[in-house]
């Protein structure tokens, strides 16, 4: 049977009543868990795992896959409405989604996010269906230096986000990377920067930092400005969402979908670097790139498409090689093993029905996600009608519960509050917080890949440049950095020349 016939069979199974109910339930759970800051969809998948014992293997995979698809999108709902990313990958949704909400365009922002996520997810599901085997062969060549290079590409994207202040953004990123080194180091097991506090040995969790920097600081601002969260501009709030709005961001969605589909295949890359890199590239490509961060639709659409585009492609190494590229796919691997299913090339020969039912379900889940997303977003939108003081109190409590829930540790609550105050201070002086968060998220990964690469390759640092894939990715990172910095460097050069010529501009 060819791919089309197998996929047709998969759709037949996915449209069965039990399968459809499983997908819808999983989607709703995922979107809600993703939208609740601190209660991530990965936690929801982990909590759902025991419930799959009683299910058939295919049904279990459909259930977890639907939570995954819904959860990756769900994080953007809270990011757009209350500036609190439900998941790390939803961070870029705060940069242009929340300013749209502040302008009263919450419905438009949500509609763009839902559509972009659905298109990205669909593209990725099609990639999964038709290109699984070739992608898997390519990903098999990846080793630690390639993972390191991919992480560096993610970190470099900070320069693109930094607008015209690359130095300050690099400082923020470096601070984040140093914060990420707190705790026991991954190679030697030596505790760093613990200052004699035992709780610091387990490190500073990025979720806790993120909640503090974004949620807590935002709520302090909310009460200090007594800002009304209801759409201020009635004309904007009631403005109809036109087809033209979607048509205008078609390029951003296409680029985001492509970037996400490619990055999703790389184990370890996942939704967060995918969304950030897509945002950075879109900022360079877009005509409104210099206005990014003020509520530009392309700045919202590209990362939204990219992060959901990683969901299907992240399943490629899982199903074909048995390599989970993320926490979510690791849980899916656990589910497969619990049910006695061994992922790998043989799975395609032994149980094509299961494989193509999963593929069809991923396509279906991304279409159904539009309705699940609208439903949950509608519920979250009603939050906007709540008085800001009440909303603020609950955001703080949810944040603190979220921080506590990461490791059931009161120390994380203190860390969250500390970073809340730091974030508030950073906002007041205009010091960017996003690069710091990226540093805390990607820094530990980069360190692990860097150190293990050197250990595996006899401390030869040239390995990062001599291995073809790693060298290419690092070359791309360098080109990306120069491309992003070029306008700033040009402007600075012109200012210096004018000043030296005695004609200050």
């Amino acid at each position: 049977m060819n791919t089309f016939e197998l996929l047709g069979m998969g759709f037949q199974n996915a449209f069965a009543l039990w399968a459809l109910l499983t997908i819808v339930t999983g989607l709703m759970l995922g979107v809600i868990a993703g939208a609740l800051p601190g209660v991530s969809f990965v936690n929801a998948m982990a909590m759902a795992l025991p419930f799959t014992y009683s299910m058939a293997p295919t049904q279990a995979m459909l259930f977890l896959g639907a939570i995954y698809v819904g959860g990756v999108f769900g994080g953007s709902i809270s990011a757009i409405i209350i500036n609190v990313p439900g998941t790390p990958a939803s961070l870029p949704a705060c940069w242009d989604g929340y300013p749209m909400t502040q302008r009263g365009e919450v419905r438009k922002a949500l509609a763009v996010a839902i559509l972009a996520s659905a298109v990205g997810g669909l593209t990725s599901a099609l990639v999964l269906s038709f290109a699984a085997a070739p992608f898997a062969t390519f990903a098999l060549r990846f080793s630690q230096p390639e993972f390191f290079a991919a992480t560096i590409l993610g970190l470099i994207s900070v320069i693109a986000i930094s607008k015209d202040r690359p130095l300050v953004s690099l400082m923020s990123l470096s601070l984040g990377i140093v914060i990420g080194t707190v705790g026991v180091d991954p190679i030697y097991g030596v505790a760093r920067f613990t200052f004699g506090v035992p709780a610091m040995q387990s490190g500073i969790n990025f979720v806790v930092v993120m909640i503090g920097l974004f949620a807590v600081s935002e709520v302090i601002d909310l009460i200090a400005t007594n800002r009304n969260l209801r759409p201020s501009n009635a004309a904007n709030a009631n403005a109809r969402i036109r087809f033209r709005d979607f048509w205008d961001v078609r390029g951003a969605i296409a680029r985001g979908s492509g970037i996400g589909s490619i990055l999703g295949v790389i184990p370890g890359a996942g939704a967060t670097p995918g969304a950030v890199i897509a945002y950075g590239i879109e900022k360079q490509v877009s005509r409104d790139g210099d206005k990014f961060g003020t509520g530009i639709m392309a700045g919202l659409a590209a990362p939204e498409a990219a992060k959901n585009a990683t969901t299907g492609s992240a399943m490629v190494p899982l199903l074909t090689l048995g390599i989970p590229g993320s926490a979510a796919t690791a849980i899916m691997l656990a589910a497969m093993m619990l049910h006695g299913v061994n992922p790998g090339p043989l799975l395609f020969l032994n149980d094509p029905t299961m494989v193509y039912t999963i593929f069809a379900a991923m396509i279906l889940a991304n279409i159904l996600m539009i309705f699940a997303g609208i439903g949950v977003a509608q519920f979250f939108s009603t939050l906007m009608k709540t008085p800001p003081a009440v909303l603020g109190a609950f955001i703080i409590l949810l944040s603190i519960i979220g921080a506590y829930g990461v490791r059931n540790n009161i120390f994380d609550v203190y860390v969250c509050l500390f970073f809340g105050l730091v974030g508030w201070g950073m906002k007041r002086i205009g010091f960017p917080t996003a690069p710091l968060v990226l540093g805390v998220i990607l820094g530990p990964l980069a360190e692990r890949y860097f150190m293990t690469s050197l250990a595996n390759y006899n401390q030869d640092w040239t390995v990062f440049f001599t291995r073809p894939i790693s060298g290419t990715i690092l070359g791309l990172a360098a080109v990306f950095a120069i491309w992003s910095l070029w306008p700033v460097l040009q402007a600075r050069y012109r200012a210096v020349v004018l000043l030296l010529a005695g004609r200050p501009g």
Binding site: V190, R192, V219
Partner: protein, 196 residues
Amino acid sequence: MSEGRIEGAAALPRNTAQKRRGLNVAARLALPGGLLALGLILPSYMFDRPLRIRARGLGPDAWPGLFLNAIAVIALLWIIAELWALYAEGKRKRAIPVVEQAETYDYSKAAAAICLLLAFGWMLPIVGFPIAATLFILCWCLLGGIRNPVALLLVSALGMLTLLWVFMGLALMPLSRGAGVFDDFSVWFLRLVRIY
């Protein structure tokens, strides 16, 4: 003269202008200066006790050391950039910008909110989540200008109950019950609302 801006330092009395210029310089250099100090001092506090590992190649201090050095270098570049900008501004005799507030920002309210947050963090492990959350919602709403006693009581009581039900009841999250007598109270209360 445009609102919110002072049309050049010369428009002010010389002492005031000099003082303002001095404060401006200090404010702009304080943060990069502090970060430069951080980058230089922090490496000596990296480990609690002297490192005994004889690692071949890079040790556990390599990665954080690299980025602490980066912090110091970036801070130095930042200071140079600020000094250059100040020099350029002086040459251009440009207006001293006064930060324009797009919206009224109540710093006393922000300070009160921060104190409330710190108090909540301190109280949480002592009195437990049910009491701490109720008091926090109550105080925060009061700070936010809600004065209706019925609304205050309903929001704080129902809000706390909802959070308890979702997180302790459904998600089985072991939120703090407090210590001593507060622990006993929390257990009694959780039994009362059928969570335990």
